[in-house]
């Protein structure tokens, strides 16, 4: 390695990239789900603003998905966003579109972060959804496989939060990784819990996880820079 390349490597500072991927299918307009989802970004922004630990390390991005998936807020420093955008509902529920966009955006963002002289840890995706995907099976599996392909070095940790009628059985296939010391999981609200309450609770879990991750980003541990919400929490609404 040349001295210049060595200096570049040695001078990197640390960054943790978090993405929220929100289901904006029509059904999310009931039960206050969308309004609740729209409080996620302001809450994350407030938390970052209030905490020097978060501010120096966390980059946050937001996407939504329905028939297609779109970037709502490009990954960046939330403190630099003058007007936080909002999610709006449209169409049905394509997880495949969500996974394809994640792959594309993460690939792009990691290249950019490294060019900006950051040492990048495995990105984290918090996916929030109220229902089963309307994709063709083959298409959905292919998109998930592409996002979590071991050859894709920046393949993210994926946690899925289910609200409304979403079931654990339906969501578990889409977390990553599924096994091992760093296995992620889905979090599903019990039947009867209002979607807005479930999303508010998911937001708390997401924030807690961001804080814990930022606290331990460069510590020796099993979590690879990311601390998921407490696994022993049986009370997850």
């Amino acid at each position: 390695m040349t001295d210049e390349k060595r200096a570049t490597e040695d001078n990197r500072t640390l960054v943790l990239a978090f993405y929220v991927m929100v289901d904006v299918s029509q059904s999310m307009s009931y039960g206050g789900a969308l309004e609740s989802a729209n409080e996620i970004m302001p809450k994350v922004a407030d938390a970052i603003d209030a905490s020097p630990m978060l501010a120096d390390i966390v980059r946050f991005g937001a996407m939504d998905f329905s028939d297609d998936a779109r970037v709502v807020l490009r990954l960046g420093d939330l403190r630099n966003v003058p007007m936080i955008p909002k999610f709006t509902t449209r169409g049905r529920t394509s997880y495949a579109a969500a996974f394809r966009l994640l792959r594309q955006e993460i690939e792009r963002d990691v290249v950019q972060l490294r060019q900006d002289n950051f040492r990048v840890y495995r990105p984290v995706v918090f996916m929030i959804t109220d229902g089963e995907p309307t994709d063709e099976d083959g298409e959905l599996e292919a998109a998930y496989k592409e996002l979590t392909d071991p050859g894709f070095k920046a393949r993210p940790n994926i946690l899925v939060f289910g609200v409304g009628t979403a079931t654990k059985e339906a969501l578990d296939p889409w977390v990553y990784p599924k096994t091992g010391a760093k296995a992620m999981r889905s979090y599903v609200a019990r039947a009867g819990v209002e979607p807005k309450t479930a999303i508010a609770k998911a937001t708390e879990a997401l924030l807690g996880s961001i804080v814990a991750s930022a606290q331990s980003v460069d510590e020796a541990g099993q979590s690879g820079g990311f601390v998921p919400p407490d696994d022993d929490d049986d009370d997850w609404i």
């Binding site: 060595r6 200096a7 490597e9 990691v110 990048v120 920046a154 020796a220 541990g221």
Partner: protein, 304 residues
């Protein structure tokens, strides 16, 4: 009289208004208010510091609670131990980092340091004179490394709830050989605590540099007790003017292989042994995003 800082402050490092060194960019680190750790662990000191001379060696050592642990009211999980052997022929020690998954892993780190250092002292006592470089290398390779690992692991396993710890051990002969070199050894027993040589302003890592060039960085480590790869001890001769620097990853991560701004900062400050308290200040620099506990033991040879 100058303290050194007047002459060396520049664009890349400078004192913060609160007195602490900043390397390039402090981010918002100066806003962190240290919170005490609660419960029985609250007695653990935030920062410890030692220094001294033994024969032809001068050493400084410090372990400091990182900003993340200060912010969260969590104890320092790093530990070190540095001491002369009973016969004063060797300066020996250990740097350990309790793995964060265990809530009381700082106790594992302390224990690892005690256990490994005691065993190492016994091995060195039984070892004859180091001889030349070739003999020294053979001696280091033949020390009972698997035994040290097994015994240390066993002693931690007896303490349920203590978790696990990384460990790097070292020893440097107090007196030089005829050619001026001090026989020295470093062995990473588990994890990402590591060591480098510093001489003429240049850093030489004694082992792989963590996350070097990795597209996606990892914090996964091996630890004691647990499965660890075969120990590959490093036998060296510490030349007059050179320093052996043994560190936890809290300093290893911002330092890397020493080729960046942190490497230049510390090389400038540590051309010769600094004042004890100044040394602690050098290790505790602000640099945006680096908030882990930091430990550094530095041993200079042949300081007049």
């Amino acid at each position: 009289m100058t303290t050194g800082s007047e002459a060396t402050a520049g664009a890349d490092w400078f004192p913060h208004a609160n007195g602490r060194w900043v390397v390039e960019d402090a981010g918002r680190q100066a806003e962190v208010e240290p919170m005490p750790a609660g419960g029985p662990d609250g007695v653990r000191p935030d920062t410890v510091l030692d220094g001294g001379r033994l024969g032809g060696l001068t050493y400084r050592a410090t372990s400091q609670r990182g900003l993340a642990h200060q912010n969260a009211g969590v104890v320092r999980q790093d530990s070190y131990l540095v001491r002369p052997t009973g016969d004063d022929r060797w300066l020996i020690g250990c740097v350990a980092d309790g793995v964060s998954n265990g809530p009381r892993s700082h106790l594992a780190a302390d224990l690892v340091c005690r256990s490994t250092t005691m065993r190492l002292a016994q091995f060195l006592r039984d070892l004859g004179p180091p001889g030349d470089a070739e003999v020294w290398t053979a001696s280091v390779n033949s020390l009972g490394w698997p035994e040290i690992v097994a015994e240390t692991s066993e002693s931690i396993r007896k303490e349920p709830g203590w978790g696990s710890s990384t460990a790097v051990v070292f020893a440097v002969a107090a007196e030089p050989l005829a050619d001026g070199g001090h026989p020295a050894l470093v062995a990473v027993l588990a994890g990402d605590s590591t060591a480098l040589l510093l001489g003429d302003g240049t850093w030489t890592p004694l082992g792989a540099v963590k996350n070097d060039g990795a597209e996606i960085a990892s914090t996964a480590v091996t630890a004691l007790p647990g499965e660890v790869p075969a120990i590959r001890p490093q036998a060296r001769m510490l030349r007059p003017g050179q320093a052996l620097v043994v560190i936890s990853d809290g300093l290893g991560d911002p330092l890397g292989s020493g080729g960046g701004v942190v490497g230049r900062f510390l090389a400038t400050m540590w051309q010769r042994p600094p004042d004890l308290l100044a040394y602690a200040g050098h290790v505790g620099f602000y640099r945006k995003s680096f908030t882990d506990d930091r430990t550094a033991v530095t041993i200079w040879a042949g300081v007049p």
